[in-house]
């Protein structure tokens, strides 16, 4: 009898292991839901975006190379006018330019915060950066519209709307993100690298740029790409200052457009299933693929950085 009892108690699932099972099921369900949502969004955007080329007979070649954007109308051979080149150029221009301008400032600020004056950096710059991250993009756009655009109009000519205004607004928007990620990259450089360098007779500055920065390159590159992906996807603030003309930008101060700005402008004005609506989905698909590419790049770099 006693043996049976022991046997039964050994074979019975304990409370703790039951709880573990429940916890596992719960977290798997949550992950499953997230995966399903992501996949569903991707499929939806992809089918709509591809429909422009399959159902509506748009030409993929035109999409990437032509600069006439008027999806409602067709050209002589009956293809819709879906030249997205101006938006593609606009998006890449503001993204690359804002990253190029923001990176040196971000690295300089990060060096100050980590290497030169950690205490003051922590006390003053850290809160400032956190505040900047928290400001809604419409506020950045509004400031850009009321300050940057007139400034450019008065000093560089044109209407003030254009790539330059978009770059300046995006520069301020991505600077805090790139800075705080660069700070993390510098902080994660082990102390013994600095000690080894100083013990070899290096000055602090030599240690910073020859060892610390070099060891932090993968982290800083991740920061920059992260900033670029943010700039690439930013819609509202850019739309407010870029001018929203689907024309190939002639210079930095002529009205231009980005993928996101044309999307937000056009969304409300098209009927689901129409050519012009599908064309917008094609832009959305391109945005999605680009952000996927940015993500892959970030993963690649952090993996390579881990190997060394």
């Amino acid at each position: 009898m006693a043996e049976d009892k022991i046997r039964a108690s050994l074979l019975k699932e304990s409370k703790a292991s039951k709880r573990e099972k429940h916890g596992k099921i719960l977290s798997f369900a949550a992950i499953g839901l997230i995966v399903i949502v992501v996949v569903a969004i991707f499929i939806f955007v992809a089918t709509r975006g591809i429909a422009t080329f399959t159902v509506d007979k748009g030409s993929l070649w035109d999409f990437f190379t032509k600069s006439q954007w008027n999806p409602g109308a067709t050209d002589k051979s009956g293809h819709p006018l879906i030249g997205a080149l101006p938006m593609i150029v606009g998006s890449f221009a503001v993204t690359l330019l804002s990253a190029v301008v923001a990176t040196p400032f971000a690295i300089a600020a990060a060096i100050y915060m980590v290497e030169i004056s950690p205490r003051r950096g922590y006390k003053i710059l850290q809160p400032v950066i956190e505040l900047l991250v928290g400001i809604p993009s419409v506020v950045y756009g509004f400031v850009g519209l009321s300050l940057v655009v007139p400034f450019i109009r008065n000093h560089f000519g044109g209407t003030g709307f254009g790539i330059l205004a978009g770059t300046m607004v995006l520069f301020v928007m991505i600077l805090p993100t790139v800075t705080s990620m660069s700070v993390d990259a510098l902080r994660s450089v082990p102390r013994y690298y600095r000690e080894a360098s100083l013990a070899l007779g290096a000055t602090r500055w030599q240690t910073t740029y020859k060892v610390v920065l070099r060891a932090a390159v993968p982290g800083i590159m991740t920061a920059v790409i992260f900033g670029m992906s943010r700039a690439f996807g930013e819609a509202l603030a850019v739309q407010m200052v870029i001018g929203n003309a689907a024309l190939l930008p002639q210079n930095l101060v002529s009205p231009a457009s980005t993928l996101t700005s044309i999307l937000t402008m056009g969304m409300g004005n098209s009927v689901m299933g129409s050519v012009s609506n599908n064309a917008l989905w094609s832009l959305a698909l391109l945005l999605l693929l680009m952000s996927l590419l940015f993500n892959i790049l970030i993963h690649r770099i952090s993996k390579k950085g881990a190997l060394h």
Partner: protein, 265 residues
Amino acid sequence: MAMAIEATEPDKTAAPPIIDTEDVHLWYGSNEALKGINLTFKEHEITALIGPSGCGKSTYLRTLNRMNDLIPGVTIKGEVKLKGKDIYAPGNDTVSLRKEVGMVFQQPNPFPFSIYDNVTYGLRLGKQHTREQLDEAVETALRQAAVWEEVKDKLHDSALGLSGGQQQRVCIARVLAVKPDVVLLDEPTSALDPISSSQIESMLVALKKDYTIILVTHNMSQASRISDRTAFFLQGHLVEYDDTKTIFLNPHKKETEDYISGRFG
């Protein structure tokens, strides 16, 4: 405990001491870690600093090339003379000091660069060198550190791909390439396996003819095997400093004898 401890008078006939420290005190905040250390080091000798954990031997070692300056809240009093010049004198440059007094750390800490870039790092900080000069310096330093044969075919691979013992020897080569007079080693083999340790030990003995070596070690037999002189530290005091043979076979102080024979620490 009797605290009036005198360093052994060096031979009058021998070369003048390369490092001479007088009454060195060091505080971490209000905690006194070194309580008046008098020690002299002679050229081309290996001196071992031994003692239980927290006795101040590593702290003392780090005062010799001012690495403690990097730690906030440290106060140092006393004189540390390198070839007759006080290294703590106002206006003295830590950069040139550390080129004369190099340091190897407990954990192998090569930079995440190639072996070549690691070894040439110290040289590239100063004046310009030609490619040939650098190549030559790399080979000399790696040969001195007894690691040349193992790495000569992969000088441009990352130093982090080497084994711990190889990494430590590359770190030693990195210090030697700068051609310091004195090499400080802070438990250089404590993170390594016995074979790597013995390679480093015999390398240090071979280096003695060109450098003055000061070594902190927890490994008593290592101290007895390779050092010419041994200093025993206890609770921030220098208890005894003498020829290694004397320290290990015929110590004058009871604390030394207790420690050597493994009765504490």
